[in-house]
């Protein structure tokens, strides 16, 4: 098909504004999926995505509409996945910007719209859920038009649920979204915007062909990494896999690479032909660095190899995931993992537990720090325990937080942000009722429970998005926890100097409750360097014995002893102290206790 008959587009929306339902309706209307085969929300293929109502992975589906080939590239819908959204948008010429008629513009609507504008996409504004009783399509249309500098008349009004207006959406895509404009005869270049791993076929790359033509069995090369392979199969999804002999300029589809080593094909790389290679790769994606880090340890240390394999496989589907081996005295062998944000961390953890059947211990998350030691160059630190004792300067990542909230909650939001070392930036009325607040905040202040606090203080009305803006100096100290004199690396935290004493005290109090009594007194201390700032003691047990044991009891007592033994095995050994795994999560809930 010639490029002028092709339209590549994405749907962008705030969570729950109806993106997946609209995608389903489009597939139905174009007969890509018969209604009887329709499983609600076909594109959200992972179980987890359906349960959480969010889309984690981008996928692409090709449909036909009035003689045109439409490629729908799905995008993730959450704050942590800005990077994935940006990759998918780069493969498109247009985007449907969907807004809920009852809720209006939300924080992610803004973030996604700005991303689309940056990528020079044609934006087709859509107000969805006009069938809802509380819908106010005119207000929503005015907001969205204002946001993208368009006329409210240009905004489509639809109900993806009932199908009302969806045909007009398809027409608008054909009319308004420009066709691709790559060089059909140039050396072939395709952008890898996503990938997945098939256990039988290896790495499957999702690509947008920009220039030239790719053919089955053609030897290919990934330009950045230099990986060479043969295209075992080319094709597109409709939404089932449809193999093709070629993929041409402007088209979107998949390439089965046969690669078994997941690290050899990087999302964001450019594919070209080995026989007639392109001179330059396509402009690369923005390389997003993870800013939130946590240690992942198998509960059973025997599972370490399984955890490593699982992370390797997840990494293929999740370019933003970072991991490196970490050894903790307390928790043994595991991985220090970097995430885009807390939700990203939560999803990775759930996938590891659910899809790979792993039992994990996840340490309290922290952010990346930049540290200038007295001697030598700046270094980046991903683990509090790695923070040197002597530092000349420390920098921490800051974010620009964007919060949209009904005006009566402005006070509550400001109070929360002030507690979290926030600096007020701007307040803007989106409508008479709704306010858009922007703040600068240290990322460290939001990684623990900020989002929960924001939601609870605004009765769930606030919507939140953020962008990491860069590193700034902070008065940060490392607080160590010592159990029976031994520092517990997994419990160290880096914290603003002003809250160190409070946090230190709370932490040792919490640990005193979590650590069971042992065969000797156990001191729990919080310290900054050599200075102890808080201390509690877990008193030694005075008796731990099965009272009676005669002929008839022996089997039962032996089994009790075996149970006791098994219980001890589940504990982590810190020096001579047995610490239950829950204790390592004590740092996570400190704020909940304080409030």
């Amino acid at each position: 098909m010639t490029q002028d008959r092709i339209r590549n587009f994405s749907i962008i929306a705030h969570i729950d504004h109806g993106k997946s339902t609209l995608a389903d309706r489009i597939l139905e209307l174009t007969h890509a999926v018969a209604s009887r085969d329709m499983r609600a929300q076909v594109l959200d293929s992972m179980e987890l995505e359906r349960e959480r109502g969010i889309t984690i992975k981008a996928q692409a589906v090709r449909v036909e509409w009035k003689g045109h080939q439409l490629n729908l590239i799905d995008t993730p819908g959450h704050v942590d996945f800005t990077y994935e959204v940006s990759r998918s948008l780069q493969a498109c010429e247009g985007a449907l910007l969907v807004v809920d008629a009852a809720q209006g513009t939300q924080a992610q609507t803004l973030a996604n719209a700005y991303l689309a504008i940056e990528n020079e996409l044609e934006i087709v504004p859509v107000v969805n859920k006009i069938d809802l009783p509380q819908a106010d399509p005119e207000a929503a249309a005015a907001e969205i038009a204002d946001l993208i500098g368009d006329s409210p008349d240009h905004v489509l009004r639809i109900s993806a649920k009932t199908g009302q207006g969806v045909e007009e959406v398809l027409d608008a895509i054909v009319e308004r979204v420009p066709p691709p404009s790559g060089a059909a005869d140039a050396p072939a270049r395709a952008l890898i915007f996503d990938s997945s791993y098939d256990q039988y076929r290896g790495v499957v790359a999702f690509v947008r062909v920009v220039d030239g033509t790719f053919s089955t069995r053609e030897p290919l090369r990934a330009m950045a990494l230099g990986t060479r392979f043969e295209a075992e199969e080319l094709g597109f999804f409709s939404p089932t896999r449809s193999p093709m002999r070629t993929l041409e300029a402007g088209e979107v589809g998949y390439v089965i690479t046969g690669l078994k080593d997941v690290s050899r094909l990087r999302v964001g790389d450019t594919l070209t032909s080995q026989t007639r290679p392109a001179a330059e790769p396509l402009p690369g994606y923005k390389d997003v660095k993870p800013m939130v880090f946590a240690g992942l340890f198998p509960t059973d240390s025997d599972d370490y190899p399984e955890l490593r394999d699982a992370l390797e496989k997840l990494k293929l589907n999740d370019a933003a995931l970072f991991y490196e081996p970490e050894t903790s005295q307390a928790l043994g062998f595991g991985f220090r993992c970097g995430f885009l944000g807390l939700l990203h961390m939560e999803i990775v953890r759930e996938r590891l537990e659910r899809e790979f059947d792993l039992d994990l211990l996840v340490t309290a998350p922290n952010v990346a720090y930049r540290v200038k030691p007295p001697v030598g160059d700046w270094v980046e630190v991903h683990t509090p325990a790695d923070m040197p004792n002597e530092v000349e300067e420390v920098e921490e990542p800051y974010i620009k937080a964007s919060i949209i909230v009904p005006k009566e909650f402005v006070g509550a939001v400001m109070e929360l942000n002030n507690d979290r070392r926030g600096r007020f930036d701007q307040l803007e009325y989106l409508s008479e009722e709704r306010v858009h607040l922007t703040y600068e905040l240290p990322l460290a202040e939001i990684v623990l429970d900020y989002y929960d606090q924001l939601k609870s203080r605004t009765r769930g009305y606030a919507s939140f998005d953020y962008d990491v803006t860069g590193f700034r100096p902070g008065k940060l100290v490392r607080v160590d926890v010592l159990v029976a004199g031994e520092p517990v690396d997994a419990l160290s935290l880096v914290i603003h100097r002003d809250s160190a004493y409070d946090r230190g005290r709370l932490l040792v109090e919490r640990l005193q409750k979590e650590i069971p009594r042992q065969q000797f007194d156990v001191a729990i201390q919080a310290a900054i360097g050599a200075r102890v700032i808080a201390r509690e003691t877990v008193k030694a047990r005075r008796k731990d014995v099965l009272a009676k044991c005669y002929g008839g009891d022996i089997t039962r007592k032996r089994k009790l002893l075996e149970q006791q033994k098994a219980g001890k095995k589940r504990m982590k050994q810190v020096g001579m102290v047995e610490v239950p795994q829950e204790a390592f999560l004590a740092v996570l809930n400190l704020d909940a206790e304080k409030k």
Partner: protein
């Protein structure tokens, strides 16, 4: 060939709330049939017994609640042994019964005292009053018993440290040869736990020192703390007699034993079995001269070794660890030694006094 015989007499007048032994209420009319069944089982297992027995132990239930004629018939029919113990409840121990027991070869009585405080006896649902206990004791002394043991319970809901000290004091005043002191176990599912479980949980911290109190008070009165929960007068004060319970020592030393009666457990040559706890099934089987239904448990070598460690470390005499290396955790051993909980000599292992207080956890640590 085992030299130790246990006979279970399950009948009781009343089932105490905390009890989880195999007991049967009343049924006086069945006592005779039960003794017949016991003797039939004994006949079936006779070849397991050595020609000369070291110990016979009649436990319950309340053995002394058994119909006197039936009990007498049983005692006459049982093989002789060097130590013959009968468990007794104070309220059942008349002068006459004491004499009968003595006449029939019983030379040791274990008396279920539990407490000398009336309010604690009430909580435990015990029938006996403190004076009933004293009378029973003197009946035994009068009948010539020179080896009497008391069972005491501590950690009873509402028991203060002063109550416990007074109980121990009252017991010591009578100068029994032997004392067994058990912490009350609120076993899940018992009536007692249902009624008192919450209260016990609240008192758990306060009662943590009671075990120490028991050990201190009894050892300073000259008793030997020879097993976790058992104390006996020392040979020096008793003309060189060893007053440890020889029958129970057999369990703790890992010897074989034969158990007769419902719910009774036997261990013989690497196999353990437990008789059905159901009285009708037991009676029916033995009326036909068949073995009762049994739960079998094979004891592979490593299990026997583990039990050897678990039981051996309950005693004050060092455990010979020769051949037990495979089931011991060397690193834990070193750690526990450093903590002063375990004493290691060339080929033996023993717990220190504090190690014995923590014997459960210490043993769990020690086992590989």
């Amino acid at each position: 060939m085992t030299r130790h015989l246990y006979v279970h007499l399950p009948f009781c007048a009343h089932r105490c709330g905390y009890c989880d032994f195999v007991t049967v209420l009343g049924r006086a009319e069945q006592h005779g049939a039960y003794v017949d069944a016991l003797l039939a089982e004994l006949a079936l297992e006779r070849e397991l017994l050595a020609p000369e027995l070291e110990t016979v132990f009649l436990g319950g239930g309340t053995p002394t609640f058994t119909e006197p004629a039936a009990l007498e018939r049983l005692l006459r029919a049982l093989p002789a042994a060097q130590e013959v113990t009968v468990e007794a409840n104070p309220e059942t121990l008349t002068q006459e019964l004491a004499r009968t027991l003595r006449r029939l070869g019983v030379n040791r009585v274990s008396l279920g005292v539990q407490s000398f405080r009336p309010h604690l006896l009430a909580t435990l649902e015990r029938v006996a009053q403190p004076d009933t206990v004293r009378r029973a004791f003197y009946h035994l002394r009068d009948a010539g018993f020179d080896n009497i043991s008391f069972d005491l319970i501590y950690g009873i809901p509402g028991q203060s440290a002063a109550d416990l000290e007074a109980d121990l004091g009252d017991a010591l005043e009578l100068e029994p040869e032997h004392l067994s002191c058990y912490e009350l176990e609120a076993k899940p599912g018992t009536r007692f736990t249902h009624a008192h479980g919450d209260e016990l949980a609240l008192q758990a911290d306060a009662m943590e020192s009671y075990f120490e109190l028991v050990v201190e008070q009894l050892t300073s009165a000259g008793y030997r703390w020879y097993e976790t929960a058992n104390f006996c007068r020392t040979p020096g004060t008793e003309d060189g007699r060893d007053l440890r319970s020889r029958h129970n020592l057999a369990y703790w030393l890992g010897r074989d034993y034969l158990g007769l009666g419902i719910g009774a457990v036997s261990t013989n040559e690497g196999r353990r079995w437990r008789n059905t706890p159901r009285l009708p099934a037991y009676l029916a089987a033995l009326a036909d001269r068949r073995r009762p239904e049994r739960e079998l448990e094979p004891l592979p070598l490593d299990v026997r070794q583990r039990e050897r460690v678990m039981l051996g470390l309950r005693l004050d005499e060092p455990l010979l660890v020769d051949g037990l290396g495979d089931v011991l955790d060397g690193a834990a051993l070193e750690r526990l030694e450093r903590l002063g909980l375990v004493d290691r000599a060339d080929a033996t292992l023993a717990l220190t006094p504090r190690g014995r207080m923590l014997g459960g956890g210490v043993t769990a640590d020690l086992l590989a």
